[in-house]
Each structure stands twice: as C-alpha cells, then as structure tokens.
C-alpha cells in the first residue's frame, strides 16, 4: 500500500487543498527562503571559482535546497546533524558561517579542520555538525550511535543523518536502520532521493524505487515527502523529531528531489543523462516555488528579492576576497591530531620534514 507523498505547496507555490501549513512565523518563512537562496548563490559562485582554478573542488546542491534546509530547520540546536558531502545548507541553517566554510574550502590557516580535507568536508562541534567524509553511507551508523547515546544518557537530542539514494544500497544503511529499529533510537534517516548516484539512476540502484518502503524491513516508519517543498520537509522532519523525542523510535524520510547539476565539479552529466529529464525537474525548482508562495502570501516582494540578491552577491564577494588573503596551514599541523598527542615516530617525521623545509 503505497502511501502518498507529503506535500504542502505545489509546483506553482500554491497551498495544496487541505494541506496544513506548519506553525512558522513570517520571520521563519523568510529565513528559510534566505537560506535556500544563499545556498544556491554560494554554490554558483564556488563552481565558478573551481572553473577558474581558484579552489580545487566543489559539491553543489542546486535543486535540493528545500530537502536539506527544510529538514535542518526543524531541529533543535542540541540535535546532531550528520551530513554527507552535499548538505552545507543544513550547516548554514545551524549558523555555520560563510567565512568558516570558505576557509575550509581553501584549506587555509583559519580553517577549523586545518586544511586536512577536500572542500565541503566541514565539521563543527559547537554547532553539533558531524564531520563530513567522502565515503558514501559511512555517516549513517554514527547518527545511530549518537541517538543511542542520547537514549542511554537519558537526554533529549535527536540525530538526523543525510544521505543519497545511492547510499541506500550500502551495508551501512541497512545495519543502521536495523539497529535503530531494535533499539528504538531517536534517529532520523533522511534520504535525499535526487534520482542519481553519479551516473547511475535510481532505477538501476534498486528494484525498490519507492525508497521509503525500505523502512518496512526494519519495522520502522517510512514517509515520502516532496523534497522540493520546503514546508513539507520542515513538517515531516519536525514530526519525526518529536516522535523520536517521545521515545517512539526512528523514521526514514525519503525526500523526492533532483540533482539539477553535476555530481561535483569533477563530473559532467551530459555524458550520461538526458536534458529532457533535467528540464522536467527545473519546473519543480524548490526556490522559485517558495518565492512565489511568499510573494503571493504578501510576506515577500520582488524588490526585497533584488535587494537580497545584491546583499548575497556582496557578502560572498567580500568573504572570498578576505579568505584568499589567508595562507596555508603550518607544517606542524600535519602532525597534530593524529592522536591526542604527537607520538615519537611522528615527532621524528615532523623534525625531518622541518629540517628539510628550512634548507
């Protein structure tokens, strides 16, 4: 029995008959919109920087902003967000700053993670943002463990983990859902079904393309949501988080969305997918749709929109300018944080490298 896709506003920004708007203030609605637009403009700018050779790599999320930001927005500050590589929008929603993000991308001295990872692999303990790693699916059991820890400690935090449709094929997805079912862990499995895993369409990824249906294998709740509807994403996540906090266990949320762009800046999707498919999804763009909704509701205007575009353009420009002045991390940083203290063999390696670099 395939349940319906949860939606609140349709592709034209109209509220769907009978749909209930979530309890969000006008300010919140505008914040949601700002976050999505900001995310998109950052993506665009970074992609250009990569083309210009100024940064090494970038992962965009164009078209998926609603699924990422709507869900993150529904959490409390003490909840953990456990991302893959495509969800900086969720970090922005948490208050993660552009400056920090850019420093991470440039891997410079001010980068919190000390230039150690590729762009888009950020982390923040303070904001309860787990550390991004490239391998697909590996973050899912971490969210499970964080949630289990909350149950064990008797605290109220929920862990939400993001992953793609491709990640549902991994063992890590399965074993985490199964544990979560057994332990009724307060975890939200948020699958961004963006229909592609690099060049592999979801139809070749699994015979069960109704991804929410996979929840049944673990006797946990599975819900399908229009991932381009930021309000529906907000509402579904909020509900899952409340349920988790009540001790009623995990939820698998399938956000149905679309990767409008390339997989990453290393990819060119024209080699494997039809423009026609992309065009269809462009019509369902989450930002346009939400803008129309806001304007029709009277909480937003074209003028405000233009002003916002300018604000973002300037903000991003200024941040890049500042960040490009910052130099690379010191050689010493290579040897820190492998363990909590630098062991003798790393001291030897550090000293050798330093003596050579002094020459």
């Amino acid at each position: 029995m395939r349940e319906q896709v949860q939606r609140i506003i349709d592709e034209n920004g109209k509220v769907i008959d009978g749909a209930q708007l979530p309890d969000l203030s006008e300010d919140d609605l505008i914040r949601l919109y700002r976050l999505m637009l900001f995310n998109r403009r950052v993506d665009e700018r970074m992609t250009k920087l990569q083309r210009q050779g100024r940064i090494g790599f970038y992962v965009g999320s164009t078209g998926e902003e609603a699924s990422i930001i709507g869900s993150a927005f529904a959490l409390e500050p003490e909840d953990w967000i456990v991302p893959c590589y495509r969800e900086v929008g969720a970090a922005f929603a948490r208050g993660y700053g552009l400056f920090d993000f850019l420093c991470q991308i440039y891997g410079n001295t001010q980068d919190v993670i000390k230039g150690r990872q590729m762009p888009c692999h950020w982390a923040s303990r303070e904001l309860r943002l787990a550390s991004v790693s490239s391998p697909v699916g590996t973050q899912i059991p971490h969210a499970l463990g964080m949630a289990m820890a909350a149950s064990i400690k008797g605290t109220q935090e929920v862990a939400l983990t993001f992953f793609g449709d491709g990640a549902t094929s991994t063992g890590d997805f399965h074993v985490s859902c199964n544990f979560a079912g057994v332990f009724k862990a307060p975890v939200i499995f948020l699958c961004r079904n963006n229909h592609w895993a690099i060049s592999v369409p979801v139809g070749a990824q699994t015979a069960q393309q109704d991804l929410a249906e996979k929840a049944k294998a673990y006797a946990i709740d599975g819900v399908r949501v229009d991932g381009n509807d930021v309000l529906a994403m907000y509402a579904a996540t909020r509900q899952a988080a409340e349920k988790a906090r009540r001790g009623e266990g995990p939820t698998l949320i399938e956000a149905q969305t679309y990767r409008q762009g390339a997989h990453t800046t290393s990819d060119d999707p024209r080699a494997y997918r039809d423009d026609a498919e992309v065009d269809q999804w462009l019509e369902k763009d989450p930002i346009c749709r939400f803008r129309t909704f806001l304007i029709e509701r009277g909480v937003w205007s074209e003028e405000q929109d233009s002003a916002l575009e300018e604000e973002f353009q300037e903000e991003i420009r200024a941040a890049i300018e500042e960040v490009e002045k910052i130099g690379p991390p010191d050689l010493d940083t290579l040897f820190e944080d492998v363990l909590d203290e630098v062991p003798w063999h790393l001291e030897e390696q550090r000293d050798e490298l330093k003596s050579l670099s002094d020459q």
Binding site: I113, R116, A130, S133, P141, H142, L144, L339
Partner: protein
Amino acid sequence: MPKMNIIQAINDALRVEMRRDDRVVVFGEDVGKFGGVFRATQGLQDEFGTKRSFDTPLSETAIVGAAIGMAINGLIPVSEIQFADFIYPAFDQIVNEAAKMRYRSGAELSCPMVIRTPYGGGIRGGHYHSQSPEALFVHTPGLKVVIPSTPYDAKGLLISAIRDPNPVIFLEPKRVYRAARGEVPNGDYQIPLGEAKVLVEGEDATIVTYGAMVHTVMDAVDKISASDGITVEVIDLRTLLPWDVETVLSSVEKTGRVAIVHEAPRTCGYGAEIAATIAEKSLLNLQAPVLRVAGLDTPFPYTLEHEYLPNEKRIRKVLNDLINY
C-alpha cells in the same frame, strides 16, 4: 592479591571503569545477557543494567559505527568483536572513520573508544577463529594498538585504553585467556600505553614479542637458557602503536642480536616494522641480521596449526642462527 586469569582480569577492568565513569558502555554480540562467548562481560548487565551492557544484532559494521557516534556524543564505548577474524566488516568504520575522525575534523570531534577482540591461534579454531590482524591496524594512522599477555597487564592496559582519548584496538590473546593466571590488584591501576616490559634480562640475544607468543617465547627461552647456557633478553611490547622503541634499542645495543616473534603472517607483518627500524637506527650495533619468527604466509590452518605457529624448535633455531652468525 587475588589470582585471576585474563578473562577475569578483563572483566574486572570493565567493572572498575563502569563503576568509576558512567559514560562507559559495553556491548556487542552475545555480550549482554550471556556475558560474551568467552564470558569476559559476565555479570556486567546484572550490575549496570541493559542500558550500559547490552547485546546487539549481528553486524560488526554497526557495532563499530554506532560506537563512533556514541563516542562523539559523550559516551566511552567499549565494544566487543567476538573474534578478531570477524572484525573486517567493521574495517571501513575503523580505518576510514574512527581512525581519521580527530584528524579530519581538526579535533572538533574525537573517538575515545575501545574495541576489544580476542585474536590468535592455538585453540583449534582454523581460518576464522585464529587470525592476528594487528599489522593492519598499526599501519593505520590514528589508532592505538594494544596486546596484553598477562592478567595483570590486561587489566592495567584495558583501564588505560578506556581512559585514553584515542580509539584503541585492544587485542586479547585468547589462547591464554584461561591458562595465563597471576596476581591482579583489586580496584584501580593503570599500565601506561606505549611502554614495553623487559620480562627477563639477558646478554646474548634479544627477543621482542607480544601477546600469546610471550608465553611460547618464555617457555622456550627457559629451556634453551638451561640447555645451552645462554641468556636471552625477552621484551613484551604490550603496546604495538605507539611502540617502545627506546627499550628495544637499548636492548639491541647490549646484545647486538635480535629476533622478533609473532604469530601473524610474516610478510608485511608487525615484525617487519621492528626489524626495519632496528636495522635503520642501530645497524652498527648488530652482530647478526634481525630475524623474524612468524606465522606462515598462508591462511591459518586447522590440523597443522602447531606447525603454523612459532614454537620452541623455531625459536631455538633462530637463536642459534643469531648467535652463530
């Protein structure tokens, strides 16, 4: 002081730590109600309840992956992998996630956790209840690797491992789980990670070893010393990473002749690292090549496991070769 075997010492260490610090949680397959197939966690669920000592479904991936999340979120997970041979489904979580978490996040996040697992042969366990995978973890930056050989060390090292802020792979010598007995203090004490122990001093040669092989080596050395009138210094490394290079090198300076004994396969085994380091740092002290007595470069066999494992004959031969070089 009470006498204990290694299982009891481990159980005692877990109990001490669980009493001291309620962030410590213990879990794995058959670990909770049953107390572990080797009974190392026996009684913990009774004392600490099902929240802090529990059974999991059958997935090493999830056991270690969840441990990482718990560690990040404020607990100190001590998970058990039933046999080291079954640790490979968790390999990605260990080497790509736990080991790199502190580094990759610029120390924003870290994984204070221990993975306990019985390793090694000699119990008629064949391919899949006998392996010694230590070198794989030593080769992975970001982990500490510990192998005790006695009950006293097992307890003291496990307590240190639990208090260590890094992920620690704690390999337990199951062959001597019950056979190795000794006095173990009550309550709280630590043996620092990274310090080897000179078990017996000697002049003619040095043997570096660890884990279950410590017992094989000590027995062999006893006999050989008695029969051949030589003295052999035996070093139990106890921590494989970071290892105690000073203790090893000062022994080499004294004896000039070294063998390393371990039961993992020889090629690219842990012994290669020790041999390479000694030959690099102390070549002029060497009166003979550094020799390795190791498991064979075959999967671990069943019927002929005692032919596979280092034994007195092979240790005797290698000492002969060293001394008559």
